[in-house]
Symmetry: D2
Subunit: 301 residues, 4 copies
């Protein structure tokens, strides 16, 4: 029996790349947070300190910035695929790469009703994410794209119930047929392809998630999330599975009766902690599960 090196990876995290396209007077901006992680046989680096197979994280950073210069970052999925393939294809010891990107959106500032050419204001609270995993060299190379969003803050002021649940000796919750439902959604979906109109797919899926949250009459956050996920798969054949993680951000009806006031779901206290946390996924029953696409090294969560 021996003690040995287990799964491992290393990279440069949170490179804050801002790319300005200024080919015309009307500038374009891409505002990104890019992280890389490389895998391969790095036993010597760990066990004897021999770094000869290790591409420094500083070099990874340089590469990320250099590619931002050289290519058209029209879509973060494309940029991540290109970076991931570069590390695996061009750096000998690298057998796998994971590129993770967050994109922050900007609107043009409107001046006299017109969009300004080079002045911007940050849009919204939600962030577009992608994780691209590339594994293997040459013919056997495979790649996965998992895109998503986070920090999409949603609330519906009615159209949500919660009753008929299991009760045990510790249950004190009252059933309700009308409550506020609010969350800060994290959604991630795995594509079955590495060649797509990524921007169009993203915009469409984001809109489906919003619409379903709005229109499903909810009997539980689980049900709402399932319908949101199912609708994405229904209308996007290129999506193999989707995972949704949603805190149930509790809005408690404030008891104003000691003050002689009724409160028919009008005044709420938005609580911070604890919160419910619902994690669910919707999948195609014929799709392989592809855990490599989601995690990093198995178990690094």
């Amino acid at each position: 029996m021996g003690i040995v090196l287990g799964p491992n990876q290393y990279g440069k995290a949170e490179n804050r790349v801002v790319r300005i396209y200024r080919d015309s007077l009307r500038h374009e901006i891409r505002d990104l947070n890019v992280s890389s992680a490389l895998r391969g046989d790095f036993t010597d680096a760990h066990v004897s300190g021999d770094q000869s197979r290790v591409l420094p994280t500083d070099t990874q950073k340089n590469t990320i910035y250099a590619y931002a210069k050289q290519m058209d970052i029209d879509e973060i999925e494309h940029y991540a695929l290109t970076l991931g393939r570069h590390f695996v294809d061009d750096v000998g010891p690298v057998e796998g790469a994971r590129i993770e990107i967050e994109e922050y959106a900007w609107d043009r500032i409107r001046v006299d009703g017109h969009e300004h050419d080079h002045s911007f204001v940050r849009r919204g609270s939600d962030v577009h994410t992608t994780v691209v995993t590339v594994e293997g060299k040459g013919e056997s190379q495979r790649a996965w794209v998992v895109s998503g969003l986070k920090d999409l803050v949603l609330l519906k002021s009615t159209g949500s119930e919660f009753w008929g649940y299991l009760k045990d000796d510790y249950t004190t919750l009252q059933e309700t047929h009308d409550r506020v439902m609010a969350t800060s959604l994290v959604a991630r979906w795995r594509y079955r392809t590495v060649d797509l109109d990524w921007a169009k797919a993203y915009a469409d899926i984001r809109q489906i998630l919003l619409e379903k949250f709005a229109t499903v009459h909810s009997l539980a956050l689980q049900q709402t999330l399932y319908e949101m996920g199912r609708s994405v798969l229904d209308s996007h054949a290129e999506v193999a599975e989707i995972k949704l993680s949603a805190p149930n951000k509790h809005h408690f009806v404030v008891d104003l009766s000691p003050l002689g006031l009724d409160n028919p779901n009008e005044v709420f206290h938005a609580d911070d902690r604890p919160y419910g946390l619902i994690e669910t996924s919707v999948i195609r029953d014929d799709a392989p599960s592809s855990p490599q696409a989601w995690g990093t090294v198995p178990g690094f969560c």
Copy 2:
């Protein structure tokens, strides 16, 4: 010579009030973070522990929620003024009150092109703020309203220079005639009135700040801020003064020359720390400075 109690105040901070108006099927939402602070002669509470003149912070919380039920919170300035006057007018020992509110904005989710009645998505990154100070009872009572915004994240990709500055033995910075200028703006302005169409004034001032940031050709962040402030005072006679606090969020041009690439202001690293911090104010030279309106107890910053 003696050791005595100095300036003091106390209150309940960060009450997360969510108010739903559901008089019709088309719900309205107000999402607020409300803080109160009361002043008066609370010497006994400090020196001997006698609480008989102290209205508990728990009661302040109850009051904040009860007023949220009873009044129409169309504008946070109005809600804050009402709360502040209540504490000073109705609670014997209270001689001054400060009510601070942050408002988070929501958009209706669009479904099939129409705004949904009761489902919302959080809008933007910036927050509308107000601080209302009420001092004195009866005829001598005065009140001040300082409104503002924070977390308004702005960037212009050109139209910003920085040169001709003072140089000393520690100066290494190169002059530039074209740089990225970015900030996360905090602006606060003091009104000369307590009776106004607050929502209209806020929307208009926010738009002026955006437009001036966009259109002023900048020779320094100081100059841009001054022009932003001046324009607000120019067009809003009801504003006595405005204070702007703006981190200069540095976007460094990445040196790609060791990699054989030029980089004519296309690829930037957005740095976190340190940052420049420019704090400036624009005032009317005939307006009294009213420090009570801004700070809390003098020196509590």
Copy 3:
């Protein structure tokens, strides 16, 4: 081909439990952040909204607080095991439970050189963590305990080198034989038992990690982490594997030469982003990998 519910779980996250033991004048405190997650066949809750098999997250919260009253929380691992087994054993539809606890440490305030009986000051920056997973009912039930720490901020001002690494067209980093090495360590280790003197094991493993960080002459952060992990496994037969995640918090030597000053590793700028991120694990080659113990639902990371 169909669209179906995939892996899922739900629970109450971040219950901030503070337990005071006051059986004598010398109080004891446990300050905890407890999260629960339950698994089972919750298809109906998702697909049709039928909650009859769902134990509400509110009930989970009540259970967490009730057990904090009824049992002696001497060790978080024990408390988590008890909670996890309760949910699986006593709640019909629950087939698996995951209990995650963070513990914040307190020191007694010293007064005149003596530890005070009931007054405390928060100790240190690091947090003791545990994740307990219980799966299956009756005879087939299994349980895993993964304990660890996070936010352990470490720095060594010499005894760290980095050279001899792989170079490619994007490499600009200079080799160094003396640098600052700093990190904020996250370590998690899986025990091979569910019956142990948990507090003693934790204290001893934490000390091993500190000592090895201090004494290993480092040729790379990978090597330091490997030695830290190997030493834990060497001296703790009850540990099956250990995972270490460590940001390389870069401390850059400030170039003072333009100011006419040399800087032989004396003045550093501590940078925020980007940072290297090294994730490594050390395992026993005869130990099964037990991914259930680490992750949650596979792929939820």
Copy 4:
């Protein structure tokens, strides 16, 4: 009537300076966050964009790092005074400077019972702060030192009451003769001198604050804070005044009676928001108030 520039200042915020003293094998570390702000007549920079009187924030950063090399940063107060005087004395247009420093403490890692020479672990949660203000050139120059601490997290599990308070129509709080009292203290005190054994004074004042929090039987947080402040002034003639800002971090007794359990102050929920916020000061009645020492530009809070 005209619109003019009001109070203003500018500087470089949050320079993360780490200084290693390596004159012997036993290294010393200073881990600091340094911010500068300069004042003077910078009207032209704002109004016309003329920067000829403006020392760039980049130069301020260089100066901060250069002084870290050249001087012995034994005490942050001394370092801040030196920097502040440099900017006012040596840079023509600068008439006032404010230097703000946070210091993060480190312990040596113990190996085999001995403190290691060059390996460190971050100590505690609290941060030592100082704000130094220098105003005026030549003979008329004045300087103030305000030191303090923040993030000192304290809790006492008994010895705290709250009753006998004012009641009005909105009061629902029950009186208590035994509660948990917890806070995250911010304390700042103004010295009457610029020449002191700063480290000794700081350590002693911190200990007084801890001891008084522990030993005062509390009838309100106000009373505890007052006693803490009074004791500092009692024993430190060189302190002119002290300001204490303390959130009342509510620990609510969980109502377990619906579950058939009593809870005599044993199980608490530590709530996040809202929190009481008590701000108080203790002063010498013969000391001038020196608002310049505390704030920045009046009203910038």
